[in-house]
Amino acid sequence: MKRFLIAAVGAAALALSAAQAAAFEVGIIAFQMSSETHARVANAAAAAAKAKGWTVTLLNSEGALPKHAEQFDALIAKKVDAIIVAMGKPIEAEAQFKAARDKGVPVVTVMSGASKDTLFDIQVNEYKVGAEAALYLFGQMGYTGNLISQRFEGNVGTRIRGRLLDDVLVENQAVKEIGKHSMARTQSWRDDVRAGMQALLLKNQGQINGVWASFDGQAYIIDDLLKAQGVKRGAIPLVSIDGGEETYRRIADPDSTLLATVMIPFEGMGERAVEAIDSIVVKKQPKESVTSGPYLFQDAVLVDASNVKQFLKK
């Protein structure tokens, strides 16, 4: 029985991988599929590439650096025509990115940071995003009162958003941050956020005029906490960043305290990566026709009750 196991797994793999024509082949690596935003970028890119009739190999580094590097090696050995990386680590896996460039495999990254070994990195401008979210929240508070914040320092994007909140606070002294909680854990972070915010809400009962969250996942938990305490929409405005179906549903829901988000086009960036490879690698247009610098910035859109309908799925 055991002797056939490996062979059986191999056969299953064969069955899963449909007969492959000599189509254009793209490898897509997501750093950590268990993180929703990584999965959204990678899945959108995979869907867009399949729509073009390309052969797609979608990989998950499971948050592990050695695996990230290995998958790069394997894709290079596979001689794929291009590689797309979602939230990857071009600096930590520098040798593999360099190997791709040496072998002439073009690489486009999404939200991974710039590298000399890639064509460019598709990003939203986190500084802009952070400023927009902070200003919207301050506007809802009438530029006065107390707020509490839920932060996350372990990610460049969310860290920048927090910095922008700090800057806006410095310029608007009538608004005070009377409590902040930084998420420490990355795997059981939901519990961490719930416990931290519950403590802050209890400690500052009756004095809170607004809540800021560094990403939507945190905001869902805070929204549920506030609703459980009977807080009505608008009484304590809650603002966050990322966007997504669940976020839009809450923004449209008259019982939810979540007023707005700054929508980061994760799917859009994945699709944009495929478009860019199509024009540069397939259609052989110069890289400068897409972007001249190391970054290709995408627009983020503020979503609140006034425009949420266009984002909600019918």
Binding site: I6, V9, S17, P66, A74, A77, K78, E94
Partner: protein, 313 residues
Amino acid sequence: MGRILERYGTALAGLALIVFFAAAAPNFLNPANLLNIGKETSFLAILALGFMLALIAGELDLSIADVASLAAVACGALVQWGYGPLAGVAAALGVGLAAGLFNGFAVTILHVPSLIATLGLAAIAKGLGFMLTQGVAFVGRWPTEFTGLARGALLGVPNLILWLIAVSALVWLLVGATRTGLHMTAAGEATEAARLAGVKTDRMKRLGLALCGLLAGATAMLLASSLSSAAPGMAGDYFLYAIAAVLLGMTMFDPGRPNAPGTLVAALSLKVLGNGLVLMGAPYYAQDIALGAIIIASVAVSAAALKRAAFKV
């Protein structure tokens, strides 16, 4: 014939897997790809050989991956702070060995079952890793003397593969041909009988766990050198793979017992499987499913030793 199948069945299945991928996966036989598989196998196999040594002495070390991650960041810290490659090597091996010694102390002197003691140390190691780095990886200026440890080559053979051969040979010799190795095996197989026969069973268990830690440190050193980066949690992914390699290895050569050649062939088979699936364009989750199935099937087939180690809590 039946005996040959029992001893080499899974090894033959591994061979069949290689033949299968050679025929079906594009570029599998490309020398560069085969070399990549060999290099990737070295990290996994060295870590797995450590886990195997602890298991031979009858103890489970569930801290290997987190200890390796901590050893890597300790190594990265010293190298990045300018203490030189030698200090980095010493830090990696030292952290690994210290962790192994601690596990041995907890198991034989505090009498905490290894399943629990090593799980506890795993959490401590993880915490220390984040304390040392604040979550930010050590990247950038690594001296070539250090990166050469893993990236270099001798007479055309990559250093990683030489490391693997050296470690495997030493482990194989220790377990199969020395009194110490036999005493470790006896301490793991029948602790009371061995003790009554005059074997220093506690010392053998400490030795198994210490060597396991040391090899986790060696793995960390090679990982940091090869990737020229060190991040907390960087070896976390190897945890399940290393255990799977040992368990799968127990289905061959010396069925039912952890053994070095089996571990080696199993580590190679797992890496071949991973590489082949990628080359064939199989979906990313196929690997996880295959890994889980292999672990359960291996234990079902022949991991009595593991069951004993796990359930004597």
